[in-house]
């Protein structure tokens, strides 16, 4: 069973500290939800873990199965088993989803090894059926001209194909109508299991009705300020983030 340990992580963008000492351990099989107001550093956290060059980790550690990943390039981290479902996925004109995924899988093979094309397509189509994605979808260029919902489904399909150890899912629910949300949630639920740890970043409680988390954390101003089980999410929904802010203010006083 794999695990991702985030220890007292500090992240800056252009000398401005955004994540200010965040610790969290995600074990295989667990789903952790992080909720928090906009601008609090949720996307920054996920991109820093994934190795985006704009985000500087000023102190702290991130370990995957006990090994630090912070010295690794983004692609090495990915191949080690970190997957980021982007809040705003990039478009790659002219590169079909099928070819893109094939290249991504090929990159995981040893030199000289070739991906087996027929086996690949079999697996791809099986995953697409599971996610109720039309076959024609994979001949379209990655995210090029996709609706918000299509982009998110494309992320989930990639996640299903790449079988990461840890998935960081950044607002995967945004831009989805209720049917699409259900399909995406079903997909994630079928992937749940001891081999996969999930960090589910979301602004709203809605997603957590479909992907029920084991833990819920509230992030505010670059830190986790409160942790609990799924009931915390309901509490947040009812009381709003102001409630957390007030609590924090009282604690400080």
């Amino acid at each position: 069973m794999s695990q991702l340990e985030i220890k007292n992580l500090h992240v800056s963008i252009a000398d401005k500290e955004i994540v200010k000492g965040l610790s969290l351990t995600i074990k295989g099989g667990e789903v952790h939800a992080i909720m928090g107001p906009n601008g609090t550093g949720k996307s920054t956290l996920s991109k820093a873990i994934a190795g985006h060059p704009d985000y500087t980790i000023t102190s702290g550690e991130v370990l995957l199965d006990g090994v630090s990943i912070l010295e690794k390039e983004a692609d090495e981290r990915a191949r080690a088993g970190i997957f980021l479902a982007f809040q705003y996925p990039s478009e790659i004109p002219g590169v079909s989803i099928a070819n893109f995924l094939r290249a991504a899988l090929q990159a995981r093979l040893a030199d000289g090894e070739e991906i087996d094309a027929s086996g690949y397509y079999k697996r791809l189509y099986a995953k697409m059926d599971l996610l109720k994605i039309d076959r024609k979808f994979t001949s379209r260029a990655v995210n090029d001209g996709f609706s918000g919902g299509e982009k998110k489904r494309c992320e989930i399909l990639q996640m299903a194909m790449l079988e990461p150890k840890v998935a960081l899912m950044d607002e995967t629910d945004s831009g989805l109508d209720i049917d699409a949300l259900r399909i995406v949630a079903d997909g994630v639920n079928t992937m749940r299991g001891p081999g996969l740890g999930v960090l589910l970043i979301t602004h709203y409680q809605r997603l957590l009705d479909y992907i029920v988390p084991d833990y819920v954390h509230v992030m505010y101003d670059g830190r986790i300020v409160k942790s609990g089980d799924k009931t915390l999410a309901h509490e947040l929904e009812a009381k709003g983030y102001d409630w957390i802010k007030k609590e924090l203010a009282t604690a400080k006083a």
Binding site: E73, P93, V95
Partner: protein, 485 residues
């Protein structure tokens, strides 16, 4: 610019390159090697009338050809460098330091067994004999100034197709070739066509008889082996009425520390209803000045299509053109240029409409990486008295990192209102976020850039013959891998 590399020893990339993928394409990625050669014929260094006389005499040419050459030399000396519109880098060519003619003999061999060992080794490493067996109707393999090997499959020659080098063509079939030789591209078209007309050697002369459709492509491969050398091949393809032919050319040279000059002239003639497709995938080393003039004349209902992929070289200046001379003639230029650090791809297209209801299509895609620079120059000319003419021009540029530069100079002169043109241009960038996105899926930075570039040209590459699109992809992969710091 990349530093020069050892050329006498086999580099690793060269070795694995050939072995890796012998089944597809002509392996031009493996071009960076050369063998020490003793040349039986050598015109020495520098350019004068004596150089011309030497070349003409070893070729045992008819007097009219020597005359043609000497006139061209005068023209070349009298014409200024086109630096008033083109790059000043042209001034760095020292014409007196170049060797204009190097060969082992003027008669190409008809079988690979007869080709001298060193030369044969070169072409075997590039995979040519194997390709010939697999999917080509004929091959000409030029080594420095002359074709070392030239052969056409019997089934094709029986149809009356002529496929020889320029020396043989002018000697054996003067009545056929003289009529069009130097007519599509006059000597004085530009300074480099004048230079070629003076010192030309090698290149292909092709004639396809009426109605003959050559089923497999004819291929020429141009190899520069010697340092400080200039290669000046001359190609003339005549497709007679209703015939069809596909010609493909590939080029490589090893990376020398001094610059090398490649200056070809290619003339195409498509007679009534004929179709010519001319495909180039070049991968010159990045010290080669590649200054090539290519033009075709399309008669009534004829079609000429240039597919031009320019990778490598220090400076490429090339603007394939079609003169649409007969009614309903069609011309097309599809070009892809990749300018990496220290390279300048100055490419484009020229369409001259000279009859009613003629159509032309230009799709040019350029990729500039690092300090690389791409320039598109297009000319579309439709005079006032014509009607029913159409042109479509699309120029797309892709920039990878902020230092690279792209310029577009489209000149579309359409007179009168009975013709239509459409012009689109775009510039896009491979953003850091896009690269990060791909890296997050496990691709290295080089693989990510390469995929972005392949995506950018995908719609064009799909139109190429399979072997060439695979080869193009491999060359792009290599370029992009090499461009990551």
């Amino acid at each position: 610019m990349k530093p020069p590399t050892e050329t006498d020893i086999l580099s690793d990339s060269a070795e694995t390159g050939v072995m890796e993928n012998p089944a597809v394409g002509i392996d031009q990625s493996a071009g960076n090697f050369s063998y020490k050669m003793e040349y039986a014929f050598d015109a020495g260094t520098g350019l004068s009338e004596d150089t011309i006389r030497y070349i003409s005499s070893v070729k045992k040419e008819a007097p009219w050809i020597l005359e043609f050459r000497l006139k061209a030399l005068k023209k070349f000396f009298s014409m200024p460098m086109p630096t008033h519109w083109a790059t000043k880098d042209l001034e760095n060519i020292d014409f007196q330091k170049i060797r204009y003619y190097l060969s082992q003999g003027q008669k190409p061999k008809r079988t690979w067994d007869e080709v001298p060992d060193d030369i044969k080794k070169t072409f075997e490493r590039l995979g040519i004999p194997e390709q010939e067996r697999k999917f080509l109707a004929g091959v000409e393999a030029q080594f420095d100034s002359e074709a070392a090997y030239s052969n056409i499959k019997e089934i094709v020659s029986k149809q009356g197709v002529i496929f020889v080098n320029s020396t043989e063509g002018l000697r054996e079939h003067p009545e056929l070739f003289k009529k069009f030789f130097g007519k599509v591209i006059p000597t004085g078209d530009n300074k480099f066509s004048a230079l070629n007309s003076a010192v030309f050697s090698g290149g292909s002369f092709i004639y396809v008889p009426p109605g003959v459709k050559v089923a497999q492509p004819l291929q020429a491969y141009f190899r520069i082996n010697a340092e400080n050398f200039g290669q000046f091949e001359r190609t003339l393809i005549i497709a007679d009425e209703g015939s069809e032919v596909v010609y493909m050319e590939g080029c490589t040279a090893p990376k020398f520390s001094t610059s090398t000059l490649h200056s070809a002239v290619v003339e195409l003639v498509a007679l009534k209803g004929a179709k010519i497709q001319y495909i180039t995938v070049q991968n010159w080393a990045n010290n080669v000045f590649n200054l090539v003039t290519k033009r075709g004349i399309a008669h009534e209902d004829a079609e000429i299509k240039w597919i031009d992929c320019n990778i490598g070289s220090r400076l490429t200046m090339k603007y394939p053109g079609v003169v649409l001379k007969g009614e309903r003639a069609r011309g097309e230029v599809i070009s892809i240029a990749l300018a990496n650090d220290g390279q300048h791809q100055d490419t484009g297209a020229k369409m001259v409409h000279a009859a009613n209801n003629t159509t032309s299509n230009i799709v040019a895609k350029s990729i500039s990486v690092g300090q690389g620079r791409s320039t598109y120059r297009g000319v579309v000319h439709i005079p006032k008295h014509l009607k029913g003419c159409k042109n479509n021009t699309e120029c797309d540029a892709l920039l990878i990192n902020t230092n690279s530069r792209t310029d577009t100079y489209p000149a579309i002169s359409v007179r009168g209102d009975k013709n239509s043109t459409q012009h689109e241009a775009s510039v896009s960038k491979v953003s850091e976020d896009m690269i990060f996105y791909m890296q997050q899926r496990g691709l290295t930075e080089g693989q990510a850039m390469s995929l972005a570039v392949n995506g950018f040209i995908n719609d064009l590459a799909r139109q190429f013959p399979m072997e060439y699109s695979v080869e193009l992809k491999r060359l792009i992969d290599l370029e992009m891998e090499g461009s990551v710091g």
